[in-house]
Symmetry: D2
């Protein structure tokens, strides 16, 4: 057994150095450092990397890190929710604001301010989204009637010019963005409005299944960087069932395993399903991604 070593931190130290020290510090620090090692290994082994995240993270400062990973082709597949796509797209045009967890939500409602934790989205952002989406749907409808979530994400990526947007870079670098539950979002609401006058418009979610399965089946090795839970997390590991599981997996979570939820499930539960390989190198890090993820990824940026 290795020894626990005390931190030796001095002002001005590089982040990688502190993260390196975390490896001998115990508790979640040790797990974070192990996460870095697993990502290093994914990269060395040229694994096909799945990055998943939840919508709220895209409303936060993490957004540009996802973009940067696409820019540098550090990821091969992105899976997120409709909200994840929606926030990235809106923020390409207008910023979100910093609020507080304890603001009065009835007052916010009156002011047209929507709250995501301590982040605020003013209503006019959704007016902007509506205008852009209706125009985009019109074009898509003209061209092919029915679209898929990944195609829609690609089209939205083409519309942005913001180099801090992951849609922008995913589109430029041909990284597919899957979003099996895309209609559950403001984008979905826009499809509902659009469909009222264009009943033959549709989003077929089964189309993306094939593309995703092909990526998994053709990969030498696969790895997952799974931030948060929900449908995005499950879709990434679930797809890997067709190849006896991911070879590398790093979860960052704030959920707990004791309720049997998928969101709280640790990496080892996925081993029983063959969603993560039984010989895989994997770790679960408990903590908020806005703190954990910058540390996890900084040495690769």
């Amino acid at each position: 057994m290795e020894k626990i070593k005390d931190f030796n931190i001095r002002k001005g130290m590089r982040t990688e150095e502190i993260v390196g020290q975390m490896g001998s510090a115990g508790f979640q620090a040790e797990r974070l450092a192990r996460g870095v090692e697993i990502i290093r290994e994914m990269r060395k082994e040229k694994a096909v990397v799945f990055l998943t995240f939840t919508a709220n993270m895209v409303a936060s400062g993490l957004r540009s890190l996802f973009a940067r990973m696409c820019e540098k082709r550090m990821v091969d597949v992105i899976i997120t929710t409709g909200g994840g796509i929606e926030h990235d797209f809106i923020r390409s045009f207008k910023p979100y604001l910093l609020g507080d967890f304890s603001l009065d939500d009835r007052v916010l409602r009156k002011k047209g301010m929507n709250r995501i934790g301590n982040i605020i989205v003013p209503n006019d952002r959704y007016v902007l989204l509506e205008r852009k989406m209706q125009k985009l749907f019109k074009r898509i409808h003209r061209e092919r009637k029915v679209t898929s979530p990944s195609e829609l994400a690609r089209e939205m990526g083409k519309l942005t010019k913001d180099r801090g947007s992951f849609l922008y870079w995913a589109e430029r670098n041909r990284i597919p963005v899957f979003s099996p539950g895309i209609t559950d979002s403001a984008i979905g609401l826009q499809t509902y409005f659009f469909k009222q006058d264009h009943p033959d418009f549709g989003i077929d979610v089964t189309g993306d299944m094939k593309d995703l399965a092909n990526i998994v089946l053709n990969a030498g090795k696969t790895g997952g960087i799974i931030l948060g839970g929900g449908i995005s997390k499950h879709h990434a590991i679930g797809a890997n069932i067709v190849r006896e599981g991911m070879d590398y997996a790093v979860y960052v979570t704030t959920s707990q395993p004791w309720d049997g939820s998928l969101s709280g499930a640790r990496t080892n539960e996925a081993v029983s399903w063959g969603k993560i390989n039984k010989r895989a190198n994997h770790i679960t890090i408990d903590g908020d991604a806005t703190i954990v993820f910058p540390l996890l990824i900084s040495e690769f940026l």
Copy 2:
């Protein structure tokens, strides 16, 4: 201010009586009792009731409570994940097993046992699902090529004869089951297999949007019983944005608000969005649904 009253519990007491006492006990007990009151009010006011739950809950003993609520027409809309539909359907034919959170997942993998917390799903359950789904897809494909999640859930409900199944009762009592992210599940995997020989088969998720919106728009009042988080939770409250929010809402959650996640967001955050009405009666109860929900619902069964 009301006084804190000590519990006065004796052996053999009825559950409703203990739950009633919880109302003056403080902490989450008090919130649970308030949840019961809000559900009582929903029913009195004949609100259109949305029930949402996560897949793992359907693998647990809670499944029959969802079924019973459909049988008694206590709910008007169900929203769940693909996994929620899948577990209900499979358990109509074969039981799940009780395991332990700390079983060795590599050993389970070897034995063909899939773990959901302390619940075990043997592999043959998925063989059964495959057989039934492929047959069903064949028929649907013959009849109409493209289906929707709610239509698929209805067809699956027709195939079961288990009175403990919510799909069974939802189908009998014409309660729609929405599942915007349905392809993220074993059912989704089956659509992928089926599509290989039937490329024109599809699931259009935009179709259900209209039905859901119509229910919301035509309702006098609406209420939500929201168990767990994720896409099901958001879809229920998100749909209510078109009517300035739900009038009643009870959340049961194991997630925390401090990461800005939708799953951890309390009812008040939804007020800022107009997903829950600013005059609504609403409460968030922190705890595992397998303990909280039986207490919350017992007086109505």
Copy 3:
């Protein structure tokens, strides 16, 4: 492996019946039911039972359940914090009030209302405590200068006539109440005030160690019902190290193990220390005690 069985709940059902059904329902419901079985076994085997709880629980409706367990001699040792003793004592004379988690604490401060979650303690309760404690300290100081936490708890028990008080019943039934950190409380603050004029007054905490160790060493079997974490939890299991650990243990907790904290540690961690015996029957239940504990204990009351 046992099968997962769905709940079969009808209005008016006795609590024990629902708790019994929880045993086949999975997740924390199953663990709660297992907790009931372990307590049943503790009682059958006539184990010396340690009950520990945190201060906030005594401010809640749970207080009378602790009292009832002392009245019925279901417990042999109580370990709690100074706050646990303080709240029980004050509530023997004046009630606490039901507030809300989201009250404005600056406004409360102005009104002289102290908040414990959603429970409110008006300032005059502490005026009452001051009067009673100073009088008691005066008598103790006259009689013996230095006291111990358990002696102080016993003297306070003599001063109450409230049958809902655990101090009352512990004193009547000679159940020792240990509180190794008693000075960290309003009682401790009172000792500070008293000591200003009576510098030779003191509380020797080492005295109680011997009494506690004797109980552990003379016990045939020992069992713990450990609600919440902190010093009370550790003191109960820590004392059992001198006999190779408790034979039965039920933890109820809201803390998580991933930070390496004692409060979040599951029962199995204590096995490595010999604080719980390696052959012990033990379980950890995740949830708020105000909901879990009434269910856990109702069949024994």
Copy 4:
């Protein structure tokens, strides 16, 4: 309202720069950055600083950061548990080891390995503690019969020569280490053994109350850096009640407020009690201290 700004991270960046960016990133990142600002203000205003932590943190790599803060006189008072003192002392002589959260505790028991999360303490460390403590108690008993927790901590500090020990630096720099619940620890167990042959030996915990109160009463301003919960947290804020509360407070926690526990209580709850001043600058950061604290403190080291 300020805008949410995306991270702009490049390899090799200094930690302070990333922490600075966190201030505009939302969620807990923003709170961490706010914590840094509050500590900066504490220092600028020359507040008397209370640092509290739990025992497990001293078993981790954080120990040297506490030591470094004492070395640099960044703190004026330390409050911790008996376990916190015990781990610091033992580690001055022998290292702890890095294990895993999922090790088999029955196997560990057989091997004489005690587990704290993913940290392992072999039994011989406690043999060492016994030898040193018995010798120390003998000397103290000879000199004055009865001691106090802070005096004991000081004597232990004198025995170490490890510059990574906070006891070492606290003793050198006359920073008092309070530990109101000290007997709940292996040190407490040693007092029990010692007392068997020296019944007049004792630890009077009321003695330290006066010293602590004097520090609070004589302070211009006070600030708290409160890591984790339990008795140490409460003792620091509780002592500040005599001066209408702390002027600055930073909590780092893994506990939740919804159970009404002191450990989970946010800073604002303490405002209602006058333990934190109603005009104070205060923040609660949710996360594991082994990750959060190095970031919080690095610019001051």
